[in-house]
Subunit: 210 residues, 2 copies
Amino acid sequence: MDYLNSKYLSKVVSELSKLPGIGRKTALRLALHLLRQPATEVEALGESLLLMRTNIRFCKHCHNISDSEVCEICTNHTRSNGQICVVSDINDVMAIERTGEFNGRFHVLGGVISPMDGIGPNDLNIESVMPRISNEQISEVILALPTTVEGDTTNFFLYKKLLPFNLKITTIARGVSIGDDLEYIDEVTLGRSLINRLPFDDTLKRASVK
Amino acid sequence: MDYLNSKYLSKVVSELSKLPGIGRKTALRLALHLLRQPATEVEALGESLLLMRTNIRFCKHCHNISDSEVCEICTNHTRSNGQICVVSDINDVMAIERTGEFNGRFHVLGGVISPMDGIGPNDLNIESVMPRISNEQISEVILALPTTVEGDTTNFFLYKKLLPFNLKITTIARGVSIGDDLEYIDEVTLGRSLINRLPFDDTLKRASVK
């Protein structure tokens, strides 16, 4: 245990080292850095954390983070194109938004079904997808969950739930990343990309649409 | 720029990414982690930062961090052994305390003389060493500054300042680390360790004292 000489410093170090990927050494380095900063800087950080935790809300439709009851994507009428993309987490919304390829709405499950961790369908935002399908005239649900056993289980569970609605249910393509060398790709991904091969003129057309 | 969907989240990410070694991606990961934690956890972190910055003080004798006007080392009479170890930074106090080999007091300069960065002797806690020498009956000053050009300059500056006091002025030994293979040591360190070689029976005696 380090000799810290101040209970305030010691408290900051122990709080910071609870963060993922930050050990005691990094926490101490960060704390000492903050001590050298002007008080206003540290106050800005401390207060931004408190404000975030108390003020951030989750959109009542899609469960994405939001500053208001309904998020910006759900209030944006140009994004009401009949598509909902189902993702596991908030980060996934950001990742898809960065692509600029999707102009529909999201639905954040808040995780995937994982019996090992005691997470069942009722712990996730699954039921709340159903009312959206008629309310928002959804014609396609795009499943973009992780490619794990848990993700596949959740995909299948959702598929069964959505079947009666007579929708187009799709899942994002898995395949070789752009720019990757074939020899370094794992065999499952490469195999999948062979099974799911596309007509070449189809890919040409899609590239030109963008 | 990321699509963050909340000005509170966006503020936290920009504050966290000001920290050393934390980029925007890590900041976002940390912020989303904090969002998933119970509110009390985030409050504990935010408040500990604010408390640290407002309550921590610097010891008026040694300039180490302290919760009171005079730090625990300076108030501890068993550490008044006539030795002062001069270090550049608070972290160095911690590093020396971890060794358990030093039982005197410290003096934290708050940096080293660096004309390139505009840091002169008056920007550092140098003058405040002098009154301590008679007040605390100091017989030895141990210089433990970094082995850089700036550290050497500061060493020399202090040496000249301390010369009139008729003290023992020492500097920590530079040499091959314990457990290191000679072939991997840089030549300056290895060369220094040859120049500063010690009588073997001397090292035996010192090891047994501990």
